[in-house]
């Protein structure tokens, strides 16, 4: 085949691909809508921030008046719920300062927390994600584990997801703690932190305390080496899920995917990668495949996150 003919054939081949996989007719309008939605959320935050600012000013004034008239009190630190063995979670809007730190078009600036035993001390700590405004006017997400005794382990989200060991950086959109569970087996809890949301798929990382530092779980071998971001949810054509289990007595992470194939919404290719844990490193043990239908018990978990008290969708 001559070069000019190859060029022409290539152009036609790409054209055929695009014709066989056309975009939805309203894609441009849909994307416009999503961007506008996120912009209006920013507006709400701006209004909330202004209100919060006024409230904060009032609170500071009130506190200064009260403190002038009362003996000094010890600093109150975030405290965990104590002896409950099961981690509990909450994701509530921050009442005051956080919204004002929400940069334009960030989809989410809400503080979120989960309670769990992250350092294997036997006591519960609070894992939190919050926006910090730096001095240059920028903002970043801070992940933090706070022990009942006030000890804090923290790290910037962008640092945790920076390039290292030949693996590329991941760019998070935000951080929302979805819950905590023993994804890597006892005694440690890991926090599931959502960092991105697509049109149908949500993306998160597993964060834990290792050697006194916060670290992110990552796949270290196989075709998916470097994977740190795990998807869940999906659409009628594909799905992703995450679970935990054991092989023998060894804790494993189960990463599941389904895809409508052939495209008849009846048959789905189901895949499950089983990873063993070594600290927070994941190593591929096995990869399973089957063709299943929606009635198969493996179908639903392939769209969900299920580990301990973490159940998405709940």
């Amino acid at each position: 085949m001559t070069m000019s003919r190859l060029e022409s054939e290539l152009r036609q081949a790409f054209e055929r691909r695009l014709t066989s996989l056309p975009a939805r007719a309203d894609l441009r309008a849909h994307v416009n809508e999503v961007v506008a939605g996120r912009s209006s959320r920013v507006n709400i935050w701006q209004v909330t921030a202004a209100t919060a600012g006024l409230l904060l000013l009032g609170a500071v004034t009130f506190y200064s008046i009260v403190s002038r008239n009362s003996p000094s009190a010890p600093l109150v630190r975030p405290s965990a719920s104590g002896s409950s063995p099961a981690p509990s979670t909450s994701a509530t809007p921050a009442p005051s300062a956080t919204p004002s730190a929400c940069p334009r078009l960030w989809p989410n600036c809400t503080d979120s927390t989960a309670t769990g035993n992250f350092d294997a001390s036997g006591q519960n700590e609070v894992f939190s994600a919050s926006v910090i405004r730096d001095q240059s006017g920028g903002a970043y997400w801070l992940l933090q584990v706070t022990a009942p005794n006030g000890h804090i382990v923290s790290a910037r989200l962008d640092s945790l997801l920076a390039a290292h060991d030949g693996c590329p950086a991941e760019v998070p959109d935000y951080a929302m703690v979805k819950g905590a569970a023993k994804f890597a087996g006892p005694p440690h809890d890991l926090a599931l932190v959502q960092i991105r949301k697509g049109a149908s798929t949500e993306f998160g990382i597993l964060v834990g305390v290792q050697n006194g530092n916060l670290q992110v779980a990552m796949v270290t071998n196989g075709a998916n080496r470097c994977q740190r971001v795990f998807p869940w949810s999906g659409s009628v054509t594909h799905g992703n899920g995450l679970g935990c289990g054991t092989v023998g007595s060894r804790p494993v992470l189960l990463v599941r995917q389904v895809e409508d194939h052939p495209p008849d919404y009846v048959h789905y290719d189901w895949y499950q990668a089983t990873y063993k844990w070594q600290g927070l490193q994941l190593s591929l043990l096995s990869l399973d495949h089957a063709v299943i239908t929606q009635n198969d018990s493996r179908f639903e978990p392939s769209y969900a996150v299920t580990c301990g008290s973490v159940r998405i969708p709940s």
């Binding site: 081949a13 695009l18 894609l27 209006s40 334009r104 078009l105």
Partner: protein, 167 residues
């Protein structure tokens, strides 16, 4: 900036690039829903980063580079695409297609997205080597090398398929 103000501004600036972004995404990902996801996320990122874009005349390669990065990020988390794409493409081939075209489609499927992307940008989107480099985050010289290397791989794959057909 309010939602009402943001909407026309976004549509004026990024809107015209969305169909090109989708074309790139579906070429890299071979999946319609995933490609739409990628374009949506890339558009939001682009809109957020737009104030940092110095040369507005380079907005298309700049936007496409964000789409390409988003596709790479998605591919890292969706390994089944690597396993099943060739079969998917074969299913969608119509029976009366010319054998050459089918061979070329298969050879393109077998190329890695890293090789397919520069071919698509150069031969389908008519981008210069310089623009291809900008989208891929590499130099113009490296972009040219990638295109020639991908062409070589494609040709040698086509030849080996030819050879098999004649056994």
């Amino acid at each position: 900036m309010g939602a009402d103000e943001a909407l026309p501004a976004f549509d004026d600036i990024i809107g015209p690039l969305i169909s090109r972004g989708y074309a790139l995404a579906v070429t890299m990902l071979n999946d319609r829903t995933t490609a739409e996801d990628a374009v949506q996320e890339a558009s939001i990122k682009a809109w957020r980063r737009l104030p940092g874009l110095r040369d507005r005349s380079a907005i298309e390669p700049w936007f496409l580079s964000i789409v390409a990065n988003q596709c790479r990020s998605i591919r890292r988390t969706r390994w089944w695409s690597v396993l099943t794409l060739p079969e998917l493409r074969h299913q969608s081939s119509s029976p009366d297609r010319r054998v050459d075209a089918i061979d070329l489609d298969r050879a393109l499927d077998r190329l890695s997205p890293k090789d397919r992307l520069p071919l698509f940008l150069h031969f389908y989107m008519d981008m210069t080597f310089d623009q291809v480099g900008m989208v891929m985050g590499i130099s113009m010289t490296a972009a040219r090398s990638r295109i020639y290397r991908a062409l070589d791989r494609l040709r040698s794959d086509l030849h080996s398929e030819d050879a098999l057909d004649h056994v």
